[in-house]
Symmetry: C2
Subunit: 233 residues, 2 copies
DNA sequence: AACCTACCAATTATCGATAATGCAACCTTG
DNA sequence: CAAGGTTGCATTATCGATAATTGGTAGGTT
């Protein structure tokens, strides 16, 4: 194992080099508006309107829309435009179950490959969550929350599965934010990740599985359905 | 508009209106080459090369590449190009488990909403699989196989989950084709879908779950891991 | 020799303009 | 007045050209 005396972890990779891309900035902005409901489900998005609004060309808007389509936040129909994706409870519940399966099933791989860099990154993300919670910024909190779980799962080294988790995460948070009173116990949400980090440090796969499963099942109250089924494996 | 004799069911919607789009044709062609391994994993794809090869502009190539990225068949890094996605056994196994979860978990919804149109479409796809198998066209067989399972799951009416299944399916088939002797019992693969169709007609959810779970677990031989875990719910 | 810097070739990102498509309202026609 | 065809508008799809970014290389400095 490498020496872990680095005070600042590799946060450099968290905001890679995409900040210089107009289309990516647009993607980030639109994603936020969709998750916050400022762009309503089923709402139509026309490329030239967005181009004028963000002062860029139609092609750049198109690239951003295709990235949103990759995240499942919009649906693009050939020659018929782009619409914000729906957000129904049935889909949300299914995606939450799916997320639990994905995150809980490969924890042995995660623990096996966990190193100091992972620990440092997760700690940094936890602090970012705390800051966002303190500032009452629910969306920023969700951004770092997704980063936390994504970083954790990436350690399993299943690059073809990670995009699926990404999809689940964004829709989980979208449904939560769209169906809850704003600013409800944000600090608590951040602190919920502490025991997960502890179990990871102890390399306790079973404890980790139980914590994550409960953590995910209690994100949104869907009734007893989700908690009844056990975590996979 | 010419008069259509409606001997075949609503296959019109299977190839919607995308055939007239250059980028979609390119997407289909590249997808085939990737799944067949003619484009090797990790191979670099440069946009202008493809534009010249397919006689179209760079933007059109880009759109196709983004669709491939949505399917997880390529990975695009900003300013660093597009590469064919890797294809490792660990990912393939994880995606196969995930596919089984998705397909088996919502069969109650499928059965509840199944109608004559679904039955007709599935029967048509089964016939298409048989034709492809008879012609020894393993890829075409896989195309109709994916269409069969996708059409079945769409009946569950979980539009946010369907794209995830799509992703799993394409990677399942890619791994299978990349890791098997060509033309191995194609007819058998097609006929495997007959009991599934029968159980659907009988509206027997439990039988359907067992059949589908076994059907999926035996696509690729990953050892006893997949068959040991039971189908969810 | 190791390191830093300025350039170069290759590639992607963005742009503005044009072509193609789909939809809806309108008009014709029986 | 209904059915079918036609036109016009709004929007997406495609194109060719230009700008920006990257990685590597050659050259110079300590």
């Amino acid at each position: 194992m490498a020496v872990e005396s680095f005070t600042t972890p590799t946060v450099t990779e968290l905001v890679p080099r995409q900040s210089s891309r107009r289309s990516h900035a647009l993607f980030v902005a639109l994603q936020k508006e969709i998750v916050l409901g400022q762009l309503a489900p089923e709402q139509a998005l026309t490329e030239l309107d967005l181009a004028q609004r963000f002062q860029c060309s139609q092609g750049t808007v198109r690239e951003a829309l295709m990235q949103l389509s990759e995240a499942g936040l919009v649906k693009r129909l050939p020659n018929r435009g782009t619409h914000v994706a729906p957000c129904h409870a049935d889909d949300a519940r299914a995606l939450l179950e799916l997320r639990r399966d994905v995150e809980c099933r490969h924890l042995d791989r995660v623990v096996r490959r966990a190193d100091a860099a992972l620990k440092g990154d997760l700690q940094a993300m936890l602090n970012a969550m705390r800051n966002a919670a303190r500032d009452g910024d629910e969306y920023l909190l969700s951004v770092h929350d997704r980063a936390f779980h994504t970083r954790l799962f990436e350690t399993a080294d299943l690059p073809l599965v990670t995009p699926i988790l990404t999809r689940c995460l964004i829709h989980n948070h979208r449904y939560k934010i769209l169906n809850s009173q704003p600013n409800r116990a944000l600090e608590e949400t951040a602190e919920r990740h502490v025991p997960i980090l502890r179990a990871l440090e102890a390399r306790d796969v079973e404890a980790l599985r139980g914590l994550l499963s409960h953590h995910i099942a209690t994100i949104v109250d869907f009734g007893p359905d989700l908690t009844s089924a056990e975590a996979p494996r």
